[in-house]
Symmetry: C2
Subunit: 170 residues, 2 copies
């Protein structure tokens, strides 16, 4: 698996001082893309997961194929104003100000087992907000899984009570 | 296949007078989600497609699993400001004003065969802008494929020179 070799570092994006990890070379490589998805599929295939919950929008690129691969349903957590039905909202902190994430109130039944997927674990703010949405719905979070993790940002400390998996750590 | 039964009509979203087709009940249903993805996979499996190109963000929910299912690479077309490397931009018209879509300049090599996927064909503006991006890169669009099509909006007329497939028409 050449996953790390297919991730491109981009200095100073989106702002000076940030080294952005660009996954598009991995996604476009057919063996690389399949291999990345299979890391999740092989890890979570036999865990009785009912639904994959993924965070808009890069999380969908991993979460939707993993749901397909393990035979689970797919639940999108979305940015504000995009879900059309009754919904729950959770805020999370940005460097300046806050943003929020939304989930449909009828997305899950109580005690369903879910896997939360995003491309990247950085500060953990969006994943933690997703965890709060799922807790309010009474779902059971089996694990949080990420392709990449920026360990210096200590996002794992925001996520409690479930397994936390990442496949490439920086 | 119960796809149509799992799509929920929402009146007056996002604005009065619009009947929104909510796909979230389909996505969360494991048989429904798998069945929807398999419609694309069975149709495009043996067509020599190198890459699936999907439009942010609901297009990723279908495009990424289809790429995984047919063994293709995945290329995201994104909203402005999100791609970190050299890119091409195409504008498209909204009811008031314009928006734009972007693709990395190195996303494709010339003459690669691509399948464009989105959840919905409505006016065709975003799909046509994607087609122009792909034409500038010299790619060969094998087909445009959508789960849903709003036929009264005549979006197909915006898309020329490739097969156009939708699985549920309203």
């Amino acid at each position: 698996m050449e996953i790390e070799a297919l991730i491109r570092p981009i200095p100073d994006f989106p702002i000076p001082g940030i080294l952005f990890r660009d996954i598009t070379p991995l996604l476009k490589d057919k063996q690389g893309f399949r291999g990345a998805i299979d890391l999740f599929v092989e890890r979570f295939r036999d865990r009785g997961i009912d639904h994959v919950v993924a965070i808009e929008s890069r999380g969908y690129i991993f979460g939707a194929p993993v749901a397909y691969g393990i035979g689970a349903g797919f639940i999108p957590v979305r940015k504000p104003g995009k879900l059309p039905h009754e919904k729950l909202v959770e805020d999370y902190a940005l460097e300046y100000g806050t943003n929020s994430l939304e989930i449909h109130a009828d997305a899950l039944a109580r005690d369903e087992r879910v896997l939360v997927i995003d491309d990247l674990l950085a500060t953990g703010g969006t994943a933690a907000a997703t965890g709060r949405l799922l807790e309010r719905l009474g779902a059971q979070v089996e694990a949080y899984a990420f392709l990449l993790e920026l360990t210096a940002l200590r996002g794992r400390e925001q996520l409690r009570g479930a397994e936390i998996v990442s496949f490439v750590a920086y």
